[in-house]
Symmetry: D3
Subunit: 341 residues, 6 copies
């Protein structure tokens, strides 16, 4: 008796376990999110955007993957539950991007591949396994869309990405530059990933932009490292009271045709829009500006992306996780190969 | 012994039970909200805006009425407590609209008439009783200002309104078009009221505007039904970074002199401003824009209005209910007959 | 057009505004709570136990009345919203006490008379108006069941009660003895009401019992004042791991036939059962023991009662307010004249 | 490239998608929960107890299944998210019941089969599909352990159960008898399932026990229907201050060898232990007593069970969902065939 | 054994108890916040911005001081915990204002001097002691940066300030004008401080600006008192959709060289940005505009400032307290004598 | 100008910075908590129990010290804020233990010494510095009362304790045995401290008792390691429905005269009493039983103690932190040298 043929039981499961092999048919069939019109949104296993759960990236053009850590955080923890909560919130996301016309699920084969294994008690070892995991994901060209986890994860992800693609351009949206040398004496933490990346040659430093930086700092030349290395730094103050679409046109030019990685720290947004995070700073971007930034990446050669620092214990209304889910969807929509109506 | 003559006991009750007959005096005397200067805001029974509670609409020019349902919701429920929580939050609303100069309580006889009877276990039957209840309210010209409840309620309200006034113009503020044909196979749910209304001829479809639509959708032509029927659709993206007052001037022209119904789904606002709702979508209107839209209805021939989808269990700080209460007050301020200073 | 004859609109209002005069009929008709079977619990104005709201105590045997203050609190404030939140939670209370067989609404004429006027910025003046308000309530024998507000309110209530009945016995359930001389130098605060009451001769001190006292204290003979005045003190430690029904039999004997006032501070209960209060102490009574205490007052000559210190901002799940509403119902059930099945 | 062979990526998925066919090996291999020792608890897709997700009950001895509805609730809604939140909380449950020695995952083949399809806008139709879904589950003897959802679900589940097994005995743990005839005029709602079940002959009424009933009621003979039909009714008051193990010995005798269904409404527990529910009543069972009741079912011929009325929006600390997950685990542990050490 | 020389124990204490005398060295050494790079942000006693705690203002150029009251509030209370929660949130603030280049901790000697003694049960007496406390603080020129507490505190602070400096200019950012004559009959409450200040000649009324006023009011000429006295009133509506930097240029001109007091009621900000307050009004300033206002005070002769009305019980995500902490830091940055890079 | 002589400003600071040297007077003067009668509880810097903050343990008989980490947690994190929140909650604790007669602040010199330095990104290094910090604390006999932090901290604390006193007896109250060999492959985590302690000979294993163990486990002989090493294990089931005072008499005998360490994991308590923790298990101890256990340690030779696993982000009402503060106070009360009345 196969329940999967019945309308009555376990529809979520039916869709979520549909065989990846379906795509081998002559007419390519893509995974699609389980529609809220078909199965109540409160029903079914909460996979990312209610997509099928895959145990391999074989045949996938892109995948959602979680990295559930918080031992890189310097203030409020809790980001270890980011992937799970973003999945839960993502049941509200539907198939088509009405605003931009993007139809990612009619263009790419996408699945939720679960979470990378992480050692919760040893941050360097977690970084090692994250790198190893992402190396497998990108090996045959699957584009990872990672849900953090704290921002430390971007360091090992970039290691895997650069191993595959060479130094990449970076669209980094964040309240903080995350280019400290050490934190409490440690080289690996959520405030240091991009200095490590520069040191290891993972970034094409002329093709790096940081958007939304703000907040008090440890010195008056808080962005010295970045500027010395040729990053473009766009403080939040330069973003106030206006659309960021013009900025993104310039950024697109800066990025050129080379591979680009997008790293979006949810604390780039003002805490009014994303309170559920560990190191919030007032005076930040609106979620509208966040959408403009990600939509502005359309046309870039995006080879990977992440959405980090959602901390569910501090996200009392679920808005932050919902925003994370939507931004991941928007990232998917700007991947190479997505068709627009 | 009548406590009502004493300053000491039960002042809230005194005001709230003041006889409707007072208006029959030669000099018309209107109901006024119990002032926070007179009785501590935390004191007294929480009627809408601390108005008298009436058991009939006799002699009323307008009334606040609750419709406490949530069985039309597709994601998070809880809107059944919307009316109660909006009443509780409304104790902060005062008598005069300082910004616009409107003095509704010196112009119209207004009361809180309680909640419509609803069958919580049978949505079509709830719709039937809502229609019947609103038919009585509008029978002699009293203008209902309804507090939802989920958006399903607008369908039976429009039935009652159209029975009285014929097809009406519609100012619909919402994140979603709510023009689906069915949801999970059902014709009646909170995503279908306006398609039902069109089918039944309740709307003057050339005088319909939808403001704030956004979010992912089920198809690329998500607004086809509306456009085919002549609605004006204003997606949220067209509202970003600007005042909506100019838009409302156009809308006023569109509405002309005919009867107009205003339906405001609180999820039109960005979840930063109104997190306590069931199907939030990021990138929405600000509460400032919400005020501009309602204030922009001044001069229209408004015959009814609703504020729906406030879900208190998800409104952790009370901001959403407070916003709902204020928008209902602003709706009252733009009713025909309200004097401005 | 009278809506009150319709099943469809404003049923809550219908019941809640039913004339008090109904009781003058030959066959006495009592106010009854609006049943959840008749009108959805989420519907209607939230009066106490969904009873009619009265603007006078004329004809009432007992009444619920709120005293919304928190300027007597020494730690967390918020009790000013106690009455409102207890009303909201009380919609779950039904007509009959199944466990004890009490049928209060078939025995007594009861209504919600709203809140006493209080000066939020001047505690002594608030006490003055509370006394004055309760004097009117008790003038013709109506028994007040007060919802606080912080425990300061019991002082002026006892003044009004003793003016009418002479010194009363006291069943005082609390984590604290509230017999301090001063707090921060002031004579009136929520930790001093019972010393004031003794000083003014409001209590028949041999007929006073304090149940549930615990927590750290300012001196090793923290209960000296009470013991010196002949109170019976039952620390929480004497209540652990057992039923309090045997204790209440002794208390009933202690109280004799004289008038008795019941004062229940919700912090008598352990914070597991009543977290929403200002000065919680661990190791307290269970709600079962709380029920046993109030039910154990049956047969006493109760002339007034209060339930104080519910602080809604700290009552994240609503359990504390719900407990308050239920204890007020149980107090009603033990009033003289209530029939038992 | 199969990620499933790697320690690094997507271990949750690996286990959760392991083939059901494994059990066909000579040495039977059972599904086991993904251990917290193996994969961080915050990692992986949240299936029930981190078990594999199955799209069919083929080969399963027992299954967890969700029924995500709340349109049968009379007060606070939100139970539609019960299954999802119980799954999330269940990541804390481990493989072995240390207290009782039960080793369910070394005795039975168990999986999470997702959620039954439900029509959120039509309660009778939801009941129809629930019945149909459970009919398939029980068809070949798989024992369903259902996570609600409100208590309405037990009615259609019992229909499916009785179709398979004939009238069953019932261990019903609840604050309410749920034997009303109608609610707001409707026959189907969360307060009526057991009257419906009696009327349709689904219960062996001499083998029914209701444990934990309490709270105010609509009449003094609130349990008349049950007593008239031969149920044993054990009010909460009879449970106070003692172990329920002796009671369960009697219940086991009452149940005899016939098929038994266990229905546990989380509001049987005191709101101190389970605040996240819709119609809480004070003075309830402790979670210890809840464990004693379920553990006391060992040796009965349990053919199905449910855990209902967990309402996540009101479960601010997650304790209620956690309790639900543990009670479902304990139910699994008392199923026929489970080995004890 | 002095732990202070060890890296291992109690670093927070070390810094926080460092002698004020250090500044007497030839090379002036200022107090600096304990860096998050040096000691984990979650560690150590939570003083304001992790500064040393001083028991005197001797040698201080500026100080942070708390005024923990809420008995002046008219709606939601809880501001008594404002100072404590702002301290807790302030651990995120770092040493340098990157956006403006201000280096306050390299320019001024600053410390946290704890809280003023307040009589919680007697508002006029609390005002008396607040005045007395601030008189000592300002006696030798130390500039107080006060954390409220409700807005009543500004009245006695202005008394102390004016005693020292004569009538002062006022930059008042607020949703409300706070110029009522009385509230519930009392002269002292959080809605009256500025009328009292005018009556007592504490303000140079031509040098007063009120920014952000909005919300419903008690009369159409709600700002009559202010306008009659020559205040500049800038309603929120005049602030919508634009930067407030141009406004602040005008304000700076208005203020001239005379002494200026800055009073920032957090409810000036929209509840999206600052939900944790007692009398929120929708349609308010953004936190960006709040920053612009405070930064726009640079160059004024600021002699004192306060940040009031943060109410932690309603600040579910901590954003409001965090905003309060940041605005206090920005106030520090515009004090006379602060060097800019 | 010394503010410390004034009643008006900064009383909290006055007491908290009072010189430790005071004790050198002929008549020994001890530190005492700042009384709530003297300074409003909401006022002043939140040190532990409002004690003076010391920068050294010189002259101290006992001290409170925080260890703010959460990178040893396996499920929900957040314990890094345990020390801070326990301090905040501890303002409710007063000077004398009324129930037991203990007068710790008239017997011992006690202070809050702040927090140990911890490396948030490297758990083994954090353990190293914790050990080093506690070595200094215990060097001259000061007894540390540690506030966690997760349970990992007990491992390095025991290292320091055993270095000073040799192998110690252990009263370990917990839901879990914490004797795993590894977690996710790591030797150091919050589930392994006591196995490490045994391996390193830090415990006198015949003088070890574990109280409150429960919950599902990884194997049927989950306590094998402990039993093999001679621990006494008291599962929660053996604690149900009774006082633990008799048990503690046995434990006292078991402990004899040798040095004893008390380690109290707040999850020993049922989540009804302590929801704010990371790995809650239902069916646990009551807070009454928790008090009985700690009070039962009176007369033992306690040389150190900790209260761990309070996780504020999950402690929505503050009850868990309050319980932690009270248990730390009770631990202080049973230290050698404390006088009883």
């Amino acid at each position: 008796m196969l329940l999967v043929r019945s309308r009555l039981v376990a529809r979520a499961v039916q869709k979520q376990c549909q065989k990846v092999e379906r795509r081998n048919y002559v007419t390519k069939v893509f995974n699609t999110p389980l529609s809220g019109m078909e199965m109540a949104r409160c029903g079914g296993i909460a996979s990312m955007m209610r997509l099928p759960i895959a145990s391999s990236t074989e045949g996938l053009d892109a995948c959602f993957v979680g990295v559930p850590i918080d031992h890189g955080t310097s203030n409020r923890s809790g980001t270890r539950f980011g992937p799970r909560e973003i999945r839960t919130s993502s049941v509200l996301v539907r198939e088509v991007n009405v605003a931009t016309g993007a139809t990612p699920f009619q263009s790419l084969m996408v699945a939720d591949v679960g979470d990378v294994w992480v050692n919760l008690y040893n941050l360097p070892d977690a970084c090692r396994s994250i790198k190893e995991g992402f190396a497998k994901i990108v090996a045959n060209g699957c584009i990872p869309l990672a849900a953090g986890g704290d921002h430390t994860i971007t360091y090992p992800i970039l290691q895997a990405i650069a191993d595959k693609y060479g130094p990449v351009g970076l669209v980094h949206v964040d309240a903080h530059g995350d280019c400290n040398d050490t934190m409490l004496g440690e080289k690996i933490a959520h405030g240091t990933p991009f200095r490590r990346a520069v040191e290891e040659g993972l970034l094409d430093t002329k093709r790096v932009v940081q958007i939304g930086l703000r907040g008090s700092g440890y010195s008056v030349d808080d962005h010295k490292f970045q500027l010395d290395n040729g990053f473009r730094v766009v403080p939040a103050e330069q973003c106030w009271h206006k659309s960021l679409s013009p900025l993104m046109k310039e950024v697109k030019e800066q990025m050129g045709d080379g591979p680009v990685y997008v790293s979006f720290d949810i604390d780039a947004l003002d805490p009014a829009f994303a309170p559920g995070t560990g190191t919030p700073e007032i005076g930040g971007l609106t979620s509208i500006q966040g959408l403009e930034v990600v939509r502005g990446c359309r046309g870039m050669n995006v080879v990977g992306a992440d959405l980090v620092e959602v901390s569910p214990p501090y996200d009392t209304t679920g808005t932050t996780a919902l925003t994370g889910a939507n931004l991941l969807f928007e990232m998917l929509c700007v991947l190479p190969g997505v068709k627009y109506n």
